[in-house]
């Protein structure tokens, strides 16, 4: 246990994805921040080691201070390149290859989006791109929906992690389908990292209580009124949910059971 120094009762194993060992189970995005300074401080407060980044065109007219690498230290943070905004397997593979060429690692957070309104994944395209990219040596972390069969196929296809959504990207609706997330976690060997949809700390906590290996979020922190404070809250919630899962919750029952002794009452 590394994160809560003051809580010696809680011991956890590190999260291993591909060949990477992580001590934080919270991963964060770098989009939508009001300022780079707020982003940097929020990442710091989150304790995240993995941060996602997107591949986009350089602005030809003012390229000087635009790359996010001016603000993120790749020796301290693991830069996970995504394929956000790609609607076909072919596009997603193109972005993945460009991201890898930046030279940091061969991981990709693979997204193949199927619908503009919900940003839900196109699982057929996702499987196709996963198979091909795995052949090319990529370590694919596949953003998918909360469907067990797709998750199993992604694992078969060689994904190093499967990333089912809590709810649609940027929606802040929280964990809609805890049962399906638990089922996916119980059936997969590779890590399950819930990606997208949490809105506030309790969402992160409930998500981690399902026993998943990690959680990735962006908007919940970046669009909070105080992103740094929310990043801190998310860190605590992620650790809290993880600790509660490991602790093993009491059985749920539909009757009350008194907490205080029923004997020794006054006559």
């Amino acid at each position: 246990m590394t994160n809560i120094a003051a809580a010696p009762a809680f011991t956890d194993t590190p999260l291993v994805i591909g060949d990477r060992t992580l001590h934080s189970r919270l991963m964060v995005g770098t989009g939508k921040y009001q300022s780079n300074d707020a982003m940097v401080r929020a990442i710091d407060a989150s304790g995240a080691e993995v941060v996602t980044v997107a591949v986009r065109r350089v602005n030809l007219d003012r390229s000087k201070d635009e790359s996010i690498l001016h603000h993120l230290d790749p020796s301290r943070l693991f830069l996970l390149s995504n394929t956000a905004g790609c609607y076909t397997a072919e596009d997603a593979m193109r972005y993945a290859r460009l991201g890898r060429e930046a030279g940091f690692n061969d991981f990709v957070k693979l997204e193949v989006i199927g619908d503009q309104q919900t940003l839900l994944p196109d699982v057929a395209g996702l499987l196709e791109a996963t198979r091909q990219l795995v052949k090319e040596g990529f370590k694919v972390m596949a953003y998918t929906n909360e469907d067990l069969i797709t998750a199993l196929r992604l694992e078969d296809a060689g994904a190093v992690a499967v990333m089912p959504l809590a709810s649609p990207i940027g929606s802040g609706m929280g964990l809609i389908n805890p049962y399906h997330i638990r089922v996916i976690k119980s059936r997969l060997t590779v890590p399950v990292v819930v990606d997208a949809g949490v809105g506030t700390a309790s969402d992160a906590c409930v998500t981690m209580e399902q026993g998943v290996d990690g959680i990735l979020m962006n908007t919940a922190i970046a669009e909070a009124k105080d992103p740094v404070a929310m990043a801190h809250a998310m860190r605590l919630a992620t650790e809290s949910g993880r600790a509660a899962y490991l602790a093993g919750r009491m059985p749920r029952r539909e009757i009350a059971v008194p907490s205080s002794p029923t004997q020794g009452m006054l006559g």
Binding site: V53, A54, V55, R57, V58, S63, E101
Partner: protein
């Protein structure tokens, strides 16, 4: 006293630059790097006549040993007093005949912002036109840039045209292609640490453009979806240099194929090629 040919690279000051107090020294560095290709424009909205004259004289002494021009903006009297090579007169400023009367023998440039102003300036006998803003610039933020079309229109009038506004070594070739005889810059020449490097980058761009013109072989390329012109034979390394992009900071895709850093120098850009230059930005 005039140098025979209008220089091609114009280093224009403004009050922001002048406020730094090292204009003459920087002007000497620029002139040393570019020689007769350089014209230093002393331009201020704030300095009164005596201070402006003192500055013009200091710049003259700094640049003339290198064969560069001194140009004074607005004030024909100051130009004459300092022995300037040219005066540039703006909207509402002295007309060309006014300047010629006050400062005989000095070249007269007119600052023009649209095709109508360019026609009027040519009609009154201006020796050259300073046309802008070509591209967006922080100093003229409220005025929309006119694009290379302004240069193209002005160049039709048969007077040498110097483009100004947002011009960098990366887009200078496009301005020249539109018909400019030279380019002017403020930030790109005065702001960086390395004056000589900035001059060299501009002059290299102009020379590449000359070479392409002589061969008649420009290549037209789509870069990140924008149409750009480069001299034939340019490599991806040269293209990145022309765009002032650090090869370590971008990933290059050439006709849908990724070109690794070590392969950039060997990859020649051809007519109609499509190039994507990408990097990491914030994302979820």
């Amino acid at each position: 006293m005039n140098a025979p040919l209008l220089p091609r690279l114009h280093a224009v000051t403004d009050d922001r630059v002048i406020a730094r107090g090292n204009v003459a020294r920087r002007a000497a560095d620029l002139a040393a790097a570019g020689g007769g290709d350089i014209a230093v424009h002393v331009r201020s909205a704030q300095l009164e006549g005596r201070a402006l004259l003192a500055l013009a004289e200091a710049v003259r002494d700094a640049v003339r040993p290198h064969g560069a021009w001194l140009v004074v903006n607005g004030r024909a009297d100051v130009a004459r007093g300092a022995g300037a090579d040219a005066v540039v007169s703006g909207r509402g400023g002295l007309t060309t005949p006014d300047v010629k009367r006050v400062a005989p023998g000095v070249s007269v440039g007119r600052s023009v912002h649209d095709a109508a102003e360019a026609r009027a300036a040519a009609a009154e006998g201006a020796d050259f036109l300073l046309a802008g803003s070509v591209y967006a610039t922080p100093s003229h933020a409220p005025v929309p840039p006119r694009g290379v079309e302004l240069v193209r229109d002005a160049a039709q009038l048969g007077r040498p045209v110097i483009g100004i506004g947002g011009i960098t070594p990366g887009n200078a070739a496009d301005v020249m292609t539109a018909g400019a005889q030279g380019v002017a810059a403020i930030r790109a020449l005065w702001d960086g640490e390395d004056a000589a490097g900035a001059v060299a980058a501009f002059l290299a761009a102009l020379r590449r453009r000359d070479a392409a013109t002589q061969r008649g072989t420009d290549v037209h390329v789509q870069v990140n979806g924008e149409q750009r012109t480069f001299p034939a034979g340019i490599t991806l390394t040269g293209l990145l240099a022309a765009l002032q992009l650090d090869p370590r900071a971008v990933v290059v895709e050439h006709n849908r194929r990724i070109v690794r850093r070590e392969g950039l120098a060997a990859a020649t850009v051809g007519e109609g090629d499509s190039i994507e230059l990408v990097h990491f930005v914030g994302g979820g």
